[in-house]
Subunit: 160 residues, 6 copies
């Protein structure tokens, strides 16, 4: 009755939420960035609060912060973490034209917050797209990357 057979979801390929219970609680931080590329006309409308759907950047900023708290629901193997701080900000480069999205996330927990920082940037960028898409469909979200992280056994990481 017990002739068991291992499933083809074997140890090699099987996805896991990796056990971090042996890791230490330390302050862990991560900074991520991304770019939203648009026409000069769209950027001007954002700056003048002329987008009919509302003032774009405060909406995108909030969406990014709230998304950081949802990271473990979105990314299947992410641990739920006790985030202790989230900040999302923007820089505008008119000559490109580009809006840079920057997030900074902090925790005191057993694993890092890179994914929270990257998720905050991604959702803030998507929200800029959503607010402006009636005006310009060709907006691109690009160059989303981890800028730095600290805390934890692997030490500090600075990308650039």
């Amino acid at each position: 009755m017990d002739k068991k057979k291992l499933s083809h979801v074997d140890d090699k390929g099987r996805a896991k939420m990796v056990d971090v219970s042996g890791k230490e609680i330390t302050v862990r931080e991560a900074t991520a960035r991304g770019e939203v590329r648009m026409t000069a006309g769209t950027l001007k409308l954002i700056q003048e609060k002329g987008i009919p759907k509302g003032d774009v950047l405060p909406v995108a900023q909030l969406a990014g912060i709230m998304a950081a708290k949802k990271t473990h629901e979105l990314i299947p193997m992410c641990h739920p973490l006790a985030l202790t701080g989230v900040d999302v900000d923007f820089e505008i480069r008119e000559d490109e034209p580009v809006i840079d999205v920057i997030s900074h996330v902090k925790t005191r927990d057993r694993t890092g917050v890179e994914m929270e920082a990257l998720t905050a940037v991604s959702v803030a960028a998507l929200t800029i797209y959503d607010m402006c898409k009636a005006v310009e469909r060709g907006i691109k979200i690009t160059n989303i990357r981890l800028v730095s992280k600290s805390g934890g056994k692997s030490g500090e990481y600075i990308s650039e």
Copy 2:
């Protein structure tokens, strides 16, 4: 290429999930209250379990407890907290007539649970409205306030 310009979401107005990683983990508690005002007829139906949509108070009680756990998803700048206890209860004042909603929330974390207590009260009250709205549309939810809180650096607070 890098002529950056600060966005109009500047440091002054920019919303933040404030960094609490430097705050101590302590037992923190909060009690909140609110009132649901209705006609005597509606209150009587609730007491006699005559509302067609179901027995009102147990549904409202559960909705309040479950909402406390969702506070950080609802209130944009709230931290996700490890709630260690939630209790929601009701008192009935027939002569007004009013149902008082009372919540008590507890955690051991770095920041307080006022919002969790107030959210539990609000959603329990909204649920009473929902269960009874086919009977009375004019029900009012009123006087939602923090009654007391303790734990944390700001010490104890008692409202009245």
Copy 3:
């Protein structure tokens, strides 16, 4: 083997998500209001964007809109509805001092959006509390009520 016994959660008290599949799809709208009562000093800080946690009203406005979409997750017996529009706004009465929260919700579905409108008001009000609680703990949320609704078999309702 089958001597069944009805549970004590009998037909009378058992909560139900009422069957609305026989109701017609029509445009349905609801407007709700509530009040956030605070000191003149806190109101002034909000108006001057002097609250350290960020510019209060845009955050509260967004929280209200996003909460409308979560109504069926919060209120146990609410149906999930295809919301077609949500608007949240504020009026400031300096002499009280009070911030009035107003929501307007619209759908084309089989049941009304009263709860969505009331939930939007409640969560926007809670968010004002959260943003300002470091400045004033005694803020009260009060007089949350349905102002009007239209669409559906029960016709138009105007509260005042």
Copy 4:
């Protein structure tokens, strides 16, 4: 004005999210199992990746892991816990035919993870049903139980 009356949701029957703030943080683990019973033909299709909706077991495995993180949203009186590890796996018994679903959940927190382990098994099993229901409606989910738990004051538990 204050002639209060206790609600019928009295202390005896009132549901509570029990206060665990006095309990110690320890490593806590739980293992749960369940069975999905189907025809030999359906099992063969799963093994040969012939189910049109997609490769069944990796989808079920992920659904189980993600559901473990949602346990406190689903089970009303469950505490939100900082899960530190989740693993879901399958064993196939061709002669029954049955797919056994096994979950293992770990935390360092104040209360146990039995419900997380049982929820992971249940949702993984439901997902197998969903992926295969176009092929066989009579699939049964059965024998979901806690296999073992450790950590915490009540010590180790082994079911069989």
Copy 5:
């Protein structure tokens, strides 16, 4: 530059949320059942409302209804559906002893609600376990199955 290679997640095994946009909107219903097996002592405590965590069945009933609304979040390939009615009930068989969990779900949409009915039963059963686990760890959830479904092209299905 464009020498593309198909990923190994090829058409055969790739999971899909199947396109149902060509299917008709009809009334669709599903009934599911499951069993929670426990000792006579535990069942008696439930019936006498002697379980310390609260009155078990109303909590389980609500959890089941609320879970039906979360089905598409839990089961990866499930479509979000406009549920028009959900009912969860229990039957008690003292001689086994068993609590039968029964759900009935209704929609007017393009695809069926089997998964919603099965999810409601599963989460109601898990909630019974959670409420009683301090009293009895060996409770088993078993025999979860679709009892009947109607509506849609595949016609009526009755399991037994």
Copy 6:
């Protein structure tokens, strides 16, 4: 008592979930793409299922599909939509090396699914990052854009 003052969240800047109740229900589709750029070594590990956290692409594929269903929770002004189909796939370009993420989303509703398609791509890409970050921190997510959309009054859009 009623000397009302318009809030500074005035009509110009106030964010709105735009009223779409007057728009027609039609089949609407959207396709989006994005790129995940990594080293050849990381790509090889993904292809050989050598990433310790599990087989990367099936996890990313599922995460993308599930995220499409969460779009209205993430993007503040998005309407909840009845998605009728979601497909996420990958193409591998070894010489760059890049994994292209492609999503296709379909609905029959009153507004388009561009945001759902873009959200699916973004979360699938973030999941690839998460699965591989222990191996390579410098992975970049780039060039997320709408490829095409159809249905609705604005007609067909093809980006390239």
